[in-house]
């Protein structure tokens, strides 16, 4: 039954090979069909497996399959092997499902591009690598996927490589990711050596989990922190988030697929996958929560002051990824994965919507030059509206459930406190604000575009709008797999993921918190102070508070940009310095540039000018000329005369015989 799970990653690989190797003379339609079908086939296989999982008891929902031995070295062996369980099937469905929608969308979006085939080849390669990442059954194979998606991301960010900014953005993404990857690799090394010193040679998840007890708490902390460093690179968290906003130089479907829905969530997936290590390291979890919260909050503030719609979305992605880390950092892995899923729907949709807007506006990205598009591109308008509502956490939509779950976890889990919740809720308010700021600026008010652009505004073709609509439906209903108990749901997704993450740890005693909302909650509770009521009421009040914060964000945005468009200008004038600080992204890029990049360049120049050119080149050139000289000398011996050759042979024979006869005792 599990024999065919390798098909999931293989289909996009086939598409990649067909388009990459044979596709030179393919017409565009054929290329598009090959690319889309290959990803869609993966989706079908994933769906079939999902169906089978549904029929199986929870603990039997693991398919493992070993393709072949990959590296065998002494006691250590690693296989090319795949593992599909409750967690990876969700990832597979997201990657291949959202992936195929975005493939279809790209057919329309990239239609006029010269590098049409190149684009789809890379995109298929990306899906292949991403599926390898999520279906791998050991860390090494996961690392292959991890690096592979990084490579594809680099290639696709630099898709318009003639543009300097795109090429630089690609480089930046690649280099920043390398820093994270270093952490990942060091983590793998540390893990292997630690386990090996206990006589266990393995990188397989199931065996790692069985042997997790061999790690001391300190080592577990070190290893998990190193892995988390890897995750901050890939998933754009502080301090390595700087590459993601620049990555918007790539084509918009790429931003949607890679930099919103799938690749950037790899860090979250990895932590969820290794949850058994993270659970052992509470300090790391705390670090993750704090980093996640800070990232979420700061990115959200930056998002409020950007004019480029894709940049707003990029910072929003960084911020939402922060949320996911808050979730996994609270030990609520299922909540993190739940948000990952809903985020894939509505953020993917937002990017595709932005692409559709760009398509309509002849490539314009600045929201100050938009406005009033509501009537002209209605499908884009309505789908974007749903997505904005979802991300803003309006009750009933997918984002609401997942975000609320995380917010509740920040409050209720061990080691959490109310400040975490406040930060999270404030971020949610900011999110609602900047999303609707962008939304109102783009679709409402009067159109500020030039006449020529105005003339060309048109709705995108069906091939682009249909994926929008599908994603809109998913953003609407996607949250209902995780309706919390509080609202009468069963939190199905948490139960689904239970075989992977184990039972959710019990909420901490509330009395530990300095500022205890539950006390207030209790005051409102009608009857007896039993534990469940106590908790339920707290959860309810926090939920209502979050909803209010979110709605007020939307309201402020409405006030600023629809009701009274002069208000923002006044506001900016008044808080000139603050606005500039935020608009310029807190000057983080400049600070990094000043501290790291410049000094590294200086060091590099020093190495180049002195160490490299003088010492190394001296040695190398010296050796090279010596060797070349010897070569010239030897060449002269080779003069083409048979006598000379025979002479050398006899000399050699004498030499050999001398050695042999010398052996006589």
């Amino acid at each position: 039954m599990a024999d065919y799970i390798w098909l999931i990653p293989v289909f996009p690989a086939i598409g990649f090979l067909i388009n990459g190797l044979l596709g030179i003379k393919f017409p565009k339609t054929l290329t598009a069909w090959v690319a889309c079908l290959s990803v869609f086939c993966s989706f079908v296989v994933s769906a079939i497996i999902f169906k089978q999982f549904l029929d199986l008891p929870a603990e039997a929902r693991v398919f493992e399959m070993t393709a072949f031995d990959w590296i065998v070295s002494g006691d250590f062996s690693t296989q090319i092997a795949f593992r599909i369980d409750a967690l990876s099937i969700i990832m597979c469905l997201i990657v291949s499902g959202v992936g195929s929608l975005i493939h279809v969308y790209s057919v329309g979006y990239m239609h006029g591009e010269a590098g049409f085939r190149r684009f789809f080849t890379y995109l298929n390669l990306f899906v292949f690598m991403m599926l390898i990442l999520v279906t791998a059954d050991n860390l090494l194979l996961m690392f292959v996927g991890w690096e592979g998606v990084g490579l594809c991301s680099y290639l696709l960010i630099g898709y318009y490589y003639e543009k300097d900014s795109a090429a630089n953005a690609g480089k930046k993404a690649f280099i920043v990711n390398r820093i994270g990857d270093l952490g990942f690799l060091l983590g793998v090394f540390l893990l292997v050596t630690t386990l090996a010193s206990n006589g266990v040679w393995t990188l397989k998840y199931s065996e790692l989990q069985a042997n997790a007890h061999l790690l001391t708490p300190a080592l577990a902390m070190a290893i998990t922190l190193l892995f988390f460093l890897g995750a901050t690179g890939k998933s754009a968290q502080i301090p390595l988030y700087v590459w993601l906003p620049d990555a918007m130089e790539g084509p918009t479907p790429v931003s949607s697929l890679i930099h919103a829905a799938t690749m950037v969530t790899a860090g979250v997936y990895m932590i969820a996958r290794l949850n058994f290590f993270y659970t052992m390291a509470p300090t790391t979890l705390l670090v993750i929560t704090i980093i996640g919260l800070l990232t979420a909050f700061f990115a959200a503030t930056i998002g409020c002051a950007q004019y480029d719609i894709k940049r707003v979305l990029a910072y929003s992605t960084v911020s939402q990824l922060g949320y996911m880390f808050v979730g996994v950092g609270a030990g609520a892995y299922a909540a993190g994965i739940f948000h990952l899923m809903t985020h894939a729907f509505f953020k993917g949709l937002l990017f595709l919507g932005a692409g559709s807007v760009m398509h309509a506006m002849s490539g314009e990205l600045d929201m100050r030059k938009m406005g009033g598009l509501r009537k002209k591109i209605p499908i884009t308008y309505w789908t974007c509206f749903i997505a904005c509502l979802a991300i803003a956490g309006v009750p009933g939509l997918s984002g609401f459930f997942s975000k609320d779950e995380i917010l509740w976890m920040t409050y209720s889990r061990n080691g959490a406190n109310i400040w975490f919740w406040l930060f999270g809720a404030a971020t949610a308010g900011l999110t609602a604000f900047y999303m609707f700021r962008m939304f109102f600026n783009t679709f409402h008010g009067t159109c500020r575009a030039s006449e020529e652009v105005k003339h060309h505004i048109h709705e995108s073709p069906k091939v682009m709008t249909i994926p929008l609509m599908v994603l809109a439906v998913l953003s609407l209903v996607g949250g209902y797999v995780g309706v919390p108990h509080l609202l009468g749901g069963s939190n199905y997704i948490e139960k689904w993921l239970e075989p992977v993450f184990g039972h959710a740890p019990a909420p901490a005693a509330q009395s530990m918190h300095a500022f205890d909302l539950s006390v207030i909650g209790n005051a409102f509770a009608s009857s007896g102070a039993s534990g469940t009521v106590h908790e339920t009421s707290a959860e309810l009040y926090l939920m209502i508070a979050a909803i209010v914060i979110g709605l007020s964000g939307i309201f402020i945005a409405w006030l600023f940009y629809v009701k009274n468009p002069e208000l923002p200008k006044k506001f900016v004038k008044k808080f000139d310095g603050l606005f500039n600080l935020v608009h310029n992204k807190y000057f983080v890029d400049e600070i990094y540039g000043f501290i790291f990049v410049n000094n590294l360049f200086r060091l590099g120049n020093l190495c180049k000018n002195f160490f490299d050119e003088k010492i190394i080149d001296g040695i190398i050139n010296g050796t090279a000329s010596l060797v070349a000289g010897m070569g010239g000398l030897l060449r002269r011996l080779q003069n083409g005369l048979v006598q000379g050759y025979a002479f050398a042979m006899i000399l050699g024979a004498i030499f050999v015989l001398y050695f042999m006869i010398r052996m006589i005792p």
Partner: protein, 178 residues
């Protein structure tokens, strides 16, 4: 050859061996190819005598008939057909450095081999074919039995070797088409 006194045998061997070596030296140092060919015949003959001393009469006769007779005849024919013109080539210096070096290391090589052989003590096993047995069954029969019995496979492969040689001769000597 069984009856012959060992001392006398030794004497003949030394003489023929020296003759073989000397004549082959003469052969490679002659300028005139015909002289070289004639010296080669002398070498073949002396080697034939050594075969006789080793009780290998059949090979001795074959040596004289095939090599000294047929092959050398061919060699002489070829030399005459090509009809090289003597004396026109630049006379090479008699004792040039390469020549000296070549001579020197060749001598060295053979001294080494000699050193190897001189230290020879008969440790090897003796074959089934003793001189007495050869005398009783006859040299030709012994060779025939071996060649078409034990060694027939090698013999067959050797026939392919000859075939390849013939093909080569034909291919390389064929008229070149334009």
């Amino acid at each position: 050859m069984i009856g012959i006194d060992i001392g006398f045998k030794w004497f003949i061997f030394v003489v023929t061996a020296l003759l073989a070596t000397g004549s082959s030296l003469m052969m490679v140092t002659r300028k005139n190819p015909i002289h070289s060919a004639l010296w080669l015949i002398v070498t073949f003959f002396s080697i034939a005598i050594i075969y006789v001393l080793l009780n290998a009469t059949f090979i001795a006769v074959a040596q004289v008939m095939v090599y000294a007779g047929a092959i050398m005849m061919l060699v002489l024919f070829v030399i005459m057909l090509i009809h090289l013109e003597w004396g026109k080539a630049q006379p090479a210096p008699k004792y040039s450095f390469p020549k000296l070096m070549g001579g020197l290391i060749t001598v060295m090589f053979f001294l080494q081999v000699l050193a190897g052989i001189m230290a020879y003590t008969n440790i090897g096993k003796k074959d089934t074919y003793t001189p007495e047995m050869l005398a009783s069954m006859g040299n030709t029969q012994a060779i025939g039995t071996l060649l078409y019995g034990k060694y027939v496979f090698a013999f067959e492969i050797a026939s392919i070797l000859l075939l390849v040689g013939i093909i080569g001769a034909v291919v390389l000597a064929k008229k070149i088409k334009d």
